[in-house]
Symmetry: D4
Subunit: 250 residues, 8 copies
């Protein structure tokens, strides 16, 4: 729409019915119309095929269905997070193309055109069995972006050998997503072992002074290991997206 | 009642049965009786027709009904917030005049006399679909005060164009209510674009470090954009009331 | 600068050396150039003569002087907050026009053209003697905007009579700024007495569980009195600016 | 039991079968046995008839019944707080003497002997309808102690006249319990009006930045009004007990 | 001044130049003038001779001197808290009657007429040597009110015998002020031993998770011992005042 | 598996088919394989027979069953915490050997070989009836480790005599676990009476400013009594394990 | 003193001048006198020779000197923590026997009789150079108790080899004190490697979200590694004391 | 050292003086020696030439000098952060090669061999003048790693045009570091405009509810813009390192 208005104005300039200085004035007086934000955003979607996330919590199925459909029609991959099974089903009834992943409570639909492949492997590591849903959300996100994903699960205190047995996987990684609750020490351990960026995702797993993920978050933010950064508690999407983005660099 | 006592005393003074200095002493010894607060409050209701809010949470239908009726009989507009559907229905059975708004869980009844119109438009902007109930509560409040309300919804990262497409609405605003959860950045963006007061309403939408609206609140309080102030988390009523008040200035 | 580039392009369109659709493409490919934010901001300064604030803390005199001069040359009123006396003097040596207000640690310079007068009076009320610097910062801000300001100071528990003795002042107010530390109850009291917007400014005055202004802030955010909103702790500028803005409505 | 052991030992001393210095050594080597705490506690119960509180939350009916019966048999008044109706009924089936108060979720049984009367009246004031359960818990507690209780309810912003209409009640008070949520300003207002100790009870009523009663608590702790102290959030028992204690002084 | 206006009006009524109903209207239209707050406050000072506190922090000597003098001239006892030695000296130069107590950083001046004696003894107990300044502030406050004060100092883990050696003191107490930092357990211990109200004053003594007195405050608020209430961290004045108030009951 | 690889490599060295320096290089290039963590961990299990804990919350029965069986087959004692009854039953159906303890929501299975006995008695003390589940979790843990456990329950303000009546138990203790909610003062009291390490376990019992166990935690961390340390809120397992470990020293 | 009174009373019983039941009554009426706390405490000092700590912060040299001397004369080892050099010197002038340790700001004086040796070695491990003062405070404490201490310093991310090179030290440990700031992960790492109790001491080293040691504390409390407990932030004394206590078991 | 021991053992195996199974047993019994952590760490330094950071705060010059020299001798680039000028000078006197950067309080020394160049440009953007020191720390870090760095400073509300004028710079970026205090909204704005990873660095710039950077941190963690992650408050090093790492991918 902005495009049409702009074109019409530019054609008036071309036809001589509008002076360049008048056109300029027009733009200055109507500064909102040409504010590029929305367009940039649009471009991003169309160019990348990267997923647009819909935060499902607090939205009704009636709200989610049309948003998902609109994104799909613009060519985006669609990812709806935090969907309980019954609400997901209600959305699927409206828009049957969406697939439901019960383990991480996500609805997904890949973009119509296959996304560009990444440059390496996004390696997603989770500390405990209870952290798996967040790790799965990260995996689904990176996969929707076209990244190859490998997961190393249950790498807690009694499972560090899983990490060590996966040396080959670690070495081909372009980026890591490390998911942990409780004291959240695993990302530091991983960042000490590898040479690629580590996106740390604290989870709300734990009790008492875990304070819903705060202890894990603080542990990650204060890590001595460089090359590590943090996203919101339980934000598997954010972790997977950033890793997917890094995987598509170069 | 106070009035009756005061009048009786003044009549005693007029009739000479009470010395002025005795009357004065009387007032000094009974300082509570003439404490103006309650009267001021009464006056406000009668003069303005502005709504009185009843906070519904934690009250029984048996408690809410009579309060609502009393306010209505004093000429006030009535607004009951945070009413679940079944409790609202129980109140409506007692006091059928009340209308229920399921989207923001409010019961309302306009004041018997139409309120004075505002001077402009109260523009209410919400960031995400999940923030709409709070935005609606603000809208209903300002409307009960006699303000004209226009809403611009879903103005998040992927919807800033809605804001830009609404330039005409923005320009006729007397005041803004901007509702946002998560990082709560939208009020800053709006305050950077407009020249009217912006009332920011943080919402509890989000997860993890959103901490039930605390992140949004802090973001709004620390905004660099002047002309912006903040009300309590999820307090659509407070935002709508203040905007309505500004809209009735002049 | 953007302006020059835009004009050059539009003249190319007018001269036929650039097709309208090419120009459009140009704009689409270079979305940042036409992003209106900065221009909007500029306009605001030039049109309003409203003050631009420079947050002095953490900046060197060598940084502050040129910023202040640039704002002044654009026609803005200049306000530098949080300036210790010695740093202020160092800035004044570079830019002698600035006046220093030791009571609230501000440097000011009115805009070259006298600002538009407000519609009423901005009434600024402070709870305790220790809250006065913040109240003064609010007063200086509103005055720079062209508002008439009246102050009612030391209206604490033992000074409520000052509030009551100022009835005439209260009645001519267009907006209130109420400044209080400790439990921060004064804005609620004022909002219960008046019919105009109350901007509450919590201060860091207090000790122990005052938590540097947090208790006052929470008290204000949870006030039952409608028509009240809050700005950051010790943010006299923000309170004065918003009140000045409301005073200029209509 | 301790008593029996002590008496036996003292009788050995009296009969000459135990040397005084040996007895002393005995006491020194077994320091726990003569630690007076438990006995002091016993005395208190027997002498006062003051209520012993059983915190009902997290206890099973099977645990509560015998504790209540034991306290009753020692002559104490019994008060069980935070009892949901169904759990209360299960306890009553075991111990039918207990009365259930649904409004404040308490089970009570007065002490077998009527408690000593207080010296004045315990006046309990609550800010809002939602604060009444906590106020009722305070009232029941003070009544079990033998105090005369009068309540002034719903003394919020729009109900301050209730306070003013109750001048006579206020003047005969020996102590006040003032119960409020949200910004918790009512205890300060009351303490400014009266000359007796005010026990402030913050409640968890409110939302958003009320933070479950924290805002009210901080407001009360930072009150400028002297003569005011605070108990835990929602601790009606604590407020009522302290007021009852003050009422029994002299 | 209110008094003069009221008297003038009442004399008009007496002289027949003002109708009682007009006078009533007058009062209703000018609700602030007769708002009793300030007068109540005045009365309190004059009647009680209880101290008025001036919070010294953040005030200049030039501000403190006149306030202190004014309070003294109204017949109040004067107490200025949180005064560093040099600032105190500057105030004393203006108003030589004030005595400085270096141990608790207070300036005091008794009321011109000796205050009414209390009914018992205010017993002030402190946990550690570092808590003594707060305990002293409490003592000075209660003494200014006319209470007899006895202190039991350094009653920490290794000094509980001091408490036990003071049985006679404990038994003649009308009220207790118990001052403690760190985990703040002493007030609970005292409240378990005595039958009089205990005012707990948390202090900021401690480090790390003492969080400036928060740990002590929370410990006191969550005490299982009834008959205990809490004032702000380091608020010796508040504790002493409340104990003095209780000591003057009856 | 690591073992097999290592052995194969060492045999190549022995047979001369691999040079020592090549083998060294091998180890340097594959640093993960020989990282001892996992092995250490294995050893610990096999040697000690100490329990491995499975945190049940957030895991499905399908996940818990196999983990429990694997631990059992490695010779470990198995402890699954935070299991609701229905989920526990689903696990038991897969793995019938597990015993369910409804009072502390644990599933347990002793190690196949009886564990080594401890050197003394682990004494577990709980403050209130509501704290018992956490105390029971501690007891079960220490018993699985082979420690003899004695419990002293309900040692609150009104039950200190239980502590004093248990002198003999206290004296044979090798370590204490003291479990308390609310203000969490009991561990300090115990640590003041005994000469053995005290492991303090705060619980989430309480309301309001108990903040889910935070008040108890802070009280314990700030205790003046030496010889006391703290584990996570409600972490009965952690307390019992550490006490069991101390009990096995020497 | 209590002793003398008790003995006198017992002798009266022995001589027949006091009936056993009267003596019993005497004890019941004077419950404080025989409260064993203080005596227990005394005994502990005399028996153990364990150090008594004086928290130096907030105490004057005039207060510290006599307390230190009194403890010394009772036979205790003396440890004064948190002493700046100049204050320490002022204390030393009063009581020359005290030695000052500038690295951890402690004054010490061993007990007159050499303390009993421990059973093993207390191993104290610190994460970073900035954590050393806290580690040193722990070491000095354990040494005063008679324990042999070995330290492993600077075991951070880039220094884990120091830990591994100290295998022999680790194996002879009876207890560990592990000191770390920032994310506080080191105690978990150590607890995963060793079979002895680990006392974790968080430090205030760090910045930003380290929040003065809170991040380290939370990390330690939420550690998955069993056998680990925590003391207050920067509480080297507490860590050293508990480790020394464990080292003296058996 | 480990290397020497390992080699010696392998040579024993090769010479037949040690059986492979014995060697294996050796490794199993001495699990620490072959724990790869330290070696991995070493390798990283030598291979990358990436900087090792020394956190200067809380370390003495005597501690810092040798650490810096040792790192340099291992071939690492050296970066010492948080160094006040006088302490930096004292270090430089020991180790003259270090350069001091007063604007960000860093000491640096590039690695002896020039580091590998990055693949693009690390673009560092700061919101306000007060945020520049943190931005500079990030820049110095990335430059030490061999990355090309470009900075865009003062991109706050009134400086967004600087961002837009830098389109060319934005487009050649491989990674962004965005530094902001107060509400911390700038990283979200940048992440909405670009397609490369954004590392957000909150700063402690601000006052009141900025809570030392907490508001900025929460704003960044809750950002709706994907592709953004966060490091610790004021952690310019962490931001620069991660961006440098991403810049060296591919």
């Amino acid at each position: 729409m902005n495009v049409d208005k702009l074109l019409a104005m530019l054609e008036q300039v071309a036809s001589g019915s509008l002076e360049p200085r008048q056109a300029l004035q027009h733009l200055k007086n109507f500064p909102y119309e040409d504010l590029g934000f929305a367009r940039v955003d649009h471009h991003r979607v169309l160019r990348r095929g990267f997923p647009e996330v819909i935060y499902g919590q607090g939205k009704t199925p009636e709200q989610i269905g049309p948003i998902a459909r609109a994104l799909h029609e613009q060519g985006a991959a669609v990812l709806v997070t935090r969907m309980e099974a019954d609400k997901a089903q209600a959305v699927q009834e409206q828009f049957p193309g969406l697939a439901y992943h019960a383990d991480c409570r996500c609805l997904t639909l890949p973009s119509p055109e296959p996304p560009k492949a990444g440059t390496g492997v996004v390696v997603i590591i989770s500390a405990g069995t209870s952290d798996q849903p967040v790790a799965r959300e990260a995996a689904i996100t990176a996969e929707l972006m076209g990244s190859q994903v490998e997961m190393i699960l249950d790498v807690g205190v009694s499972g560090l050998h899983r990490l060590l047995d996966s040396r080959e996987t670690l070495e081909k990684a372009s980026a890591f997503v490390v998911v942990a609750g409780m004291e959240g020490a695993l990302p530091s351990v991983v960042a000490g072992l590898v040479e690629r960026p580590v996106v740390a995702v604290p989870t709300s797993v734990g009790y008492g002074t875990a304070f819903g993920g705060l202890a894990a978050l603080l542990g990650m933010l204060n890590s001595c290991a460089p090359g590590l950064s943090v996203v919101n508690i339980d934000n598997g999407f954010g972790g997977g997206y950033l890793a997917g983005l890094i995987d598509h660099l170069g």
